[in-house]
Homo-oligomer: 580 residues x 2
């Protein structure tokens, strides 16, 4: 490609609303242009990147035996009503009406349509297993779209759906997809983790997220550097940090703690470790029938309550929320910040974290501001509590059942594999006939990859103050040739063109910058865009018989003798490809 024949339009400044690097850099590099909140055009550079991701995803999906089809963007409401998601799905599901006032949705995913296809197309166990996928425009009407492609409304996703005769088959299909995803993200050249994930309301038994590691990630990943263990913090089991409860040594004592409405302040005022304090959080469960119940949940002062775990407590499964200040006053007689299990106004249900259950001589609020009580002990001052894993893992927690200490890093979810079981197939009555001619319900899995989000996540992971540093597999161009003095020197034009032709013949995606821009402008533009290999051909170098080759990820350029430049660039390219 000649730069003069391509459309490049970089900007000096990012829009003020762009808060994260990928949004800023994709906009500045002219890869995306915004039309409305979360709705973008992929400009030619941006589309090239997305197409490269798509091609790798498609190849690995095909290699894994999945079959591509294309389901519609606009889907009839009937199927969504049948599956129950017409009601369940929040306002992210964009519901629309056609000219005849019939209801449709813009697809956020395609479980309903693929299950409808399966029940019409799959008749016999002989047709199983089968895995259908498509790469298609999705729409989720986010309340507050932001971060560019990271949380857009219209985006491109690969979604696959496997159909099997039984759970064992479905889990085998799951593993095939899991392995395909491992290959996909390796080939893309990204640092990532496959992370055990919460299965949410679907309640299947297996789910993994593929997380691109980046400081700006919204997800927290718990992992063990000494093992393969990795899990989303939402799911990661927290260890009990106290092996055995000590016997009480202190008597109960009410102490004044002015303005100490946080554990940190209490520990500081009382001159004790934060690990002697206990945090009280009040929830209200909203059962389908009967009155609401008030719950006191307790975690150690240095820990945080994990609401995903709370939601899995049997009593919380039908819904829960934080208590209001009125409810807290009614049950505890105190404002928040000074709450505790002793001397409540009305009886409350108590559940404590595994670590809290083994604490002794601990400190809680006195249910009377500004007082706390020290020397509290289970069994002596309070009955033995109900115990559950209620907290988030923190860095340094010991791993469970294996050596090592847990660490935490941030990630961006770019893929998700999910064992669905019969969630959709039973609702939509998608069955097949087994060997005995008896109908059985199809077992499903679903597997998503956020194609457009990957392009943003790659940038969050790979950029510097100059711009983007693309992994070679995703780069809009693999090599850029920058002639300094294109307009003036025939020698330079000839050298540049000869190298350009050689690289093209070797199937390298190369762009020759024939726009005759000033070197500084040209270099900073290509550094912003992030092409992995830049070749600079200038008079000064040629006088010395050399051409400069600069890797985007390296600080220094390499001077290569003119006669060797073809071979050098080709071998550098191969190296970059092979280190994936």
């Amino acid at each position: 490609m000649l730069a003069s024949k391509f459309h490049l339009n970089t900007l000096k400044e990012a829009p003020t609303e762009a808060e994260i690097a990928s949004h800023q850099l994709m906009t500045r590099a002219g890869m995306i242009r915004k039309h409305a909140g979360g709705i973008y055009t992929y400009m030619p550079l941006g589309l090239k990147i997305m197409r490269k991701v798509e091609a790798i995803v498609r190849e690995e999906m095909n290699n894994a035996g999945a079959i591509e089809l294309l389901m519609p963007v606009v889907q009839p409401a009937e199927l969504w009503i049948e599956s129950g998601r017409w009601e369940e799905y929040g306002p992210e599901l964009l519901r629309i009406k056609d000219r005849h006032q019939r209801d449709f949705v813009l697809q956020p995913t395609s479980e309903e349509v693929i299950t409808d296809i399966a029940r019409n197309e799959i008749h016999s166990y002989r047709q199983l297993p089968v895995n259908f996928y498509h790469i298609q425009t999705k729409f989720r009407d986010e309340r507050r779209p932001r971060f560019g492609l990271m949380r857009g409304r219209e985006f491109t996703m690969k979604d696959a759906y496997s159909f099997d005769r039984d759970e064992a088959g479905a889990l085998a299909s799951y593993d095939i997809m899991f392995n395909a995803y491992m290959r996909i993200f390796k080939r893309l050249g990204l640092t990532f983790r496959a992370v055990a994930a919460d299965t949410g309301s679907i309640g299947g038994s297996r789910s993994h997220e593929f997380q691109v590691i980046a400081e700006t990630g919204e997800d927290l990943i718990v992992y063990n550097p000494d093992s393969d263990y990795a899990a989303n913090i939402e799911l990661a089991e927290a260890p009990c940090l106290i092996a055995k409860r000590e016997a009480p040594t202190q008597a109960l004592q009410e102490v004044e703690t002015p303005n100490a409405n946080k554990c940190e302040l209490v520990a500081q005022q009382l001159g004790v470790g934060l690990d002697k304090t206990v945090k009280s959080v009040v929830f209200v469960t909203t059962p389908e029938e009967g009155p609401a119940k008030v719950w006191l949940l307790m975690v150690r002062g240095d820990h945080e309550v994990n609401e995903i775990k709370v939601g899995k407590l049997p009593a919380f499964k039908n819904g829960f929320r934080l208590a209001t200040e009125e409810e807290i006053l009614e049950y505890f007689g105190s404002e928040p910040g000074y709450l505790g299990p002793l001397n409540t106004v009305k009886p409350v249900n108590i559940i404590v974290d595994t670590t809290v259950a083994n604490m002794s001589d601990f400190i809680c609020g006195a249910n009377k501001a500004p007082y706390h009580i020290t020397g509290i002990n289970w069994g002596r001052d309070l009955p033995e509590p109900e115990v559950a894993d209620l907290r988030n893992v923190i860095a340094g927690d010991p791993a469970i059942g294996e050596p090592g200490k847990l660490a935490i890093q941030r990630g961006i979810e770019v893929g998700h594999v999910f064992f669905l079981g019969d969630k959709y197939s039973s609702g939509l009555k998608a069955t097949f006939l087994n060997e005995n001619g008896k109908p059985e319900t199809l077992q499903m899995g679903c597997y998503g990859i956020g194609i457009s989000r990957i392009t943003a996540a790659a940038i969050e992971q790979n950029h510097d103050e100059k711009g983007i540093i693309w992994p070679i597999a995703m780069a809009p161009f693999e090599v850029v040739i920058c002639p300094v003095g294109w307009g003036k020197s025939e020698t330079i034009r000839n050298e540049a063109t000869a190298l350009y032709e050689t690289l093209k013949q070797n199937n390298i995606d190369v762009i020759l910058d024939d726009r005759d821009a000033r070197p500084g402008v040209m270099f900073s533009e290509w550094e912003l865009i992030g092409v992995p290999i830049r070749v600079t051909i200038g008079d000064r170098g040629l006088k010395d018989g050399v051409i400069e080759v600069q890797e985007r990820s390296k600080a220094e350029a390499v001077k290569v003798p003119v006669a060797e430049v073809n071979a050098y660039v080709l071998s550098l390219f191969e190296n970059l490809k092979n280190t994936l």
Copy 2:
């Protein structure tokens, strides 16, 4: 591809609603599955075909210098309001609201968005010319979607938009696209015509449709078999069939013509040629200001009024309609079927077709049922009329300005190139700075190809009673290997697999039917699907040392010696590719 690893599911019967061959055959062959009126899933076979069309379109667009990007499906209403199409576009434009009640549309085309991009991205004449395109999901909320992919609601279209500094540049861009389209449709292996087309309300000076020739086409194409001339009947200029008006020879005479309310019946009753009769059609124009006007338009009895041409008459440009029966009675004093220019109740404005203007001694209705008047002559009985080209060409009309007689055939519009001028760029104020730093308005062209419609049009053109006959460039598979007795004979499995591997290595898109179906079932399935080359490997042939090669388009198979079958199939494939 092994058939056992692909998803094939052919049906014996087409749905009753499927009226045309492509809808019936694509459904029966398992290429599409319907979810709602005009909304389909492209099943794996169907998607393969569409992707092959896309690849050819993309390659030729890139070769022609167009640059691919990807504009969104969901587009903000603001741009459509700015261009005026929010109001102008009928209910085919699906207008939707997001969760915040903001207005959006599902794109039927992308003139607004691309013009918005251009006004932001194009600053200088140095960036021109440029041509952007995308291949993206479109939505048109057809009142009555039907004919499968031929008139769907959700479909895939390639739309390109060129930007130039002046009209000469825009017309040059137009010609580049015209030539690219010629290459695209040739490469697809379709019989087609580039046809001069009506420019509609846009009023640009140049427009061509690309029509795939097929009996089921909705468009009528006028062409001269002796030249390159071809035009949509909407546009094709009709010749005046009478070089010079003869002098009157008859006196006016009122004749009774019972029940003869059509020219054919009048000619029959009076024993004269249909070419002596004149048809009277009454229109009402609806000017923006002032009262409606009644018009009598006259064409020869064997001709039809062309309403597109009528709409271009100066007095008709602000809108027109057929007169109601009440209006006809009021102005003519007679029911329709007996109307004419003589003895009207109220004065009417008369415009006659060029041929009618040169008729003499002709016959019209008497404005009194059941009477007609014979022997009417211009100048003598009526003033000289206003003359215009009002009629459709009919087969056999002489070509205008060149030798030959016009013929008519039916076509399916699959592409359209259009010179837009400043229709969008002036409304959206898309300008660039010229050499003198002065802003000028961008000149545009737009260029569409209906990707999904092409797959249906190809079938309308290429099918027989057994199924589809794909041109090789669009075929879902280029070669199918049908082993007869796959399960029983190792020899057959080996022969089939060896040929399969050889063809794959030669980059032929081959499918091996390893499902061990009965030969009759297998053959009729592949004839329905329409794979161009079928290779049958069976015991009987192998005993005689031959393998059968059957072209889908030929009646007879060829028996090829086993040792020559690789070379034979490869050379047959090359021939089919090269005859494009």
